[in-house]
Symmetry: C2
Subunit: 472 residues, 2 copies
């Protein structure tokens, strides 16, 4: 395709995107297609001859759009916010236009240095110490895996340079909350610790935050048994209830055993932009690594996760590769992001952040986050004031965990009721929630934070919740 | 940013992209900026108030473009081809427009099923058996790491479900070629094997391909010493010389020890689209996993790497996570790509491939690959026929490894000469090559395969090589 063909065809596509984004509030929130139906609508083999853009766009409209759960919908209250600002989409288009290959500083100095700049900008917006250095990863799953590898190598005294994880003298142990995101146990297992060396530390029954005394006990027991505490992953904004593990105390305990502290603030990290919310993040500045995702609440389009570390030299020792074809004369003067993560080749993801922050401005982003916090408090108040409804966990940020418990319903009957009314909401297409389990029972998380969600949308959701639960 | 603002601003950006792509042949190929200069041109903190798109585009032009090595340039002969077709850029724009969140099938059925379809299309275009199942990863580094984890878990009998890599009864050993890409030893180390358990197997002094008899000897020695051969990574199209390791023989030897065979065909894999080249890939169909990157020679914009496996159930057992908030009623009927790799959240990368294949058509892609193969053979013939010049390795595909050895120059003097003339080419801005080491001495790889590179560009490069080497 020539640049002139692109100019013509991209205009069609931009119009389609603008039209599509504008009509999202009128689409069903949850994808309403049957398993296999998208696949069945497509040919079994690739075309030999070129097709027309009009045909591709028609398929995008006819086949793809109905098969997408609309996370940009104002009534999207599922999982985590997954915003994809149009400002950051411009940055993504620019990234593709520039078509940089980020393998070394030399291959794309601008890719490297804009990434340094925007990760520093965000660190400073969060009020973190200037020692923190950041790099863009695809997702928090990857950032957490990198942190587990760095922690493993510190506790194992760089075993990968010798006999590897299979030759560490004492078993290394990892600790986290049972409320931690699924990516945390996955990363611990992939890093080679083994499930036997992964401890889920008790949480407080009211706040669902990790109990520091339970962590201290578990670490002491492991030490007494000849094992070595290697890493603690603190959930700062847990997936289930957005619980905030007490990082300051966790750091103090971990440090007494020389263990690494990794903070998973994938969703909640955006709240660090608000000075009045930073008390919830006390101690984060003292941790060893931190992951948070601008591609969630902050608004940058997928995929854009940040991994910050305090000891970047250690990270580089764990992750570096410098074969001859990647050497250059300036190696000591520049940052080589290939040594800060798993992939060698990197996209120019920093442009998404650069465009997002420049075209939106920090103040507007903070205002939007404050809007969402106020909406969550408002919803929590409504739920708490309504008979038969219960707010199940503290609403520190934007997640409201609820149950409808008519007539003292309990047990499996309550589970069925909860899943029924949540499913009724999702099937209606009018809103979307993701049920989750808490203390072994189903509940509904109302996760507020889509860019388009205003108070009226939250109020409509509350009416829909009452209507759906009442009808089930 | 509203959809209407996006419509207006995206038009400006599309024009910029079309203009930029059109003038790339007139830009210097290598970035010509000093370390730190891009960073110094940017403010130290994020803007509080929104900025204008015109200002951002002006910075893109003034600060970013000079800081990019132009891999889309017709005289880009460095590293690997890193094509970024405008057709695939349209797919990327569509992906951002749709803004799907790929965490489960339910979150985006179309994202999942289009990915199934296009990975099947490409498998079939490559002539691979229908047992192979593919998923898109960001890069081959990640795909190879996933393969190492899967191999580790097979050889270690799913140790991660117990005591982990630190409790395997016999040390697991990995084998590869010293010509393998840097991501291979990196993945082996990150997977926890340890450098002591990574064997670099001798290569043939003429073809630079792994010597199967050396592999058999190394495996037998490890077994005799109580270690367990776990995985062999075959370089099919090595980074240095594009050597093709003999996969059929490697598979036979590995299988006799129960070891996994992973094929790294990141660059060369595209040649499997050409039936007349498939003899070079004999045995690949019998391996356990295969990584190749449409974002290289095939033309799809970064990042788009494919990992194929034959035993997808094993892969899922190693990588799966299913917490309550990600469960759904259709789990058994659908593919959950989160369990085929590291990240939970996935972009709709399949659209890049879908647009690329549909708008280009398979036949045009094959023609372009054949053009590049013919250009490489032509250049190799010119070099071989010229006094004082030498082709250092077989030119099976598109990489031509050369030295200029005037007057029987050898040793460090030859190294200096090689680096001097390569650097002169890069500094001229007229073309770009990446020097590399072979048998401990520097050489120049001329890697042909940029989408824009025609015979005339290769001929001009050959004149520039003679001119630069003659002047050094």
């Amino acid at each position: 395709m020539t640049p002139e063909e692109f100019r013509t065809e991209a205009l069609l596509l931009v119009d389609w995107v603008a039209d599509h984004r504008a009509r999202i509030p009128d689409l069903p929130v949850a994808a309403q297609v049957a398993p296999g139906s998208v696949r069945a609508a497509l040919p079994m083999s690739a075309p030999e001859a070129p097709e027309e853009i009009a045909d591709v766009l028609a398929d995008l409209e006819r086949i793809v759009v109905p098969g997408i759960t609309q996370t940009q919908h104002p009534a999207f209250f599922g999982w985590f916010p997954s915003n994809a600002s149009l400002a950051s989409l411009l940055g993504d288009i620019a990234s593709g236009g520039v078509a940089a290959l980020g393998i070394t500083w030399q291959s794309a100095p601008a890719l490297t240095e804009v990434e340094q700049v925007v990760t520093d900008w965000l660190r400073d917006l969060c009020g973190l110490a200037p020692q923190w250095r950041g790099a863009i990863q695809d997702t928090a799953s990857t950032g957490t895996l990198v942190a587990m590898l760095a922690a493993r190598e510190r506790a194992g005294e760089h075993s990968q340079e010798g006999g590897g994880m299979q030759a560490v003298p004492a078993p290394l142990v990892a600790y986290t909350s049972p409320q931690a995101h699924s990516s945390v146990p996955k990363a611990v297992l992939l890093a080679g610790f083994g499930r036997d060396n992964l401890r889920f530390i008790d949480v407080d029954p009211v706040t669902y935050a990790m109990r520091p005394e339970a962590l201290a006990e578990a670490m002491a027991a492991d030490v007494a048994a000849g094992r070595r505490p290697a890493v603690v992953v603190a959930a700062v904004g847990s997936t289930g209830t957005c619980a905030m593990d007490p990082v300051a105390e966790i750091v103090r305990i971990a440090r007494s055993h020389g263990a690494w502290v990794h903070v998973d603030a994938a969703m909640a990290g955006s709240a660090m932009l608000l000075p009045e919310m930073r008390h919830l993040f006390a101690g984060v500045d003292e941790a060893d690594s931190l992951v948070w995702n601008p591609h969630k609440w902050l608004g940058t389009i997928l995929d854009c996760s940040l991994l910050y570390v305090r000891d970047v030299d250690h990270l580089i020792r764990c992750m570096s590769t410098t074969p001859s074809y990647l050497r250059s004369a300036v190696d000591d003067e520049v940052v080589q992001f290939k040594d800060w993560g798993i992939p060698l080749g990197r996209r120019f993801r920093a442009l998404k952040l650069w465009f997002h922050l420049r075209l939106e401005g920090a103040e507007a982003i903070r205002s939007r986050l404050r809007r969402d916090l106020a909406n969550a408090r408002w919803l929590a108040d409504q739920v708490a004031a309504e008979p038969d409804w219960r707010v199940l966990a503290p609403v520190d940020l934007q997640t409201v965990c609820v149950r409808h418990e008519p007539g003292g319903m309990t047990g499996e009957g309550l589970d069925r009721h909860t899943l029924d009314w949540a499913e009724a909401i999702n099937a209606s297409g009018r809103a979307f929630v993701s049920p989750s389990q808490l203390d072994g029972r189903w509940m509904v998380r109302v996760s507020i934070g889509a860019e388009a969600t205003e108070r009226a949308d939250v109020a409509a959701m509350w009416e829909l919740m009452k209507e759906s639960a009442g009808a089930c």
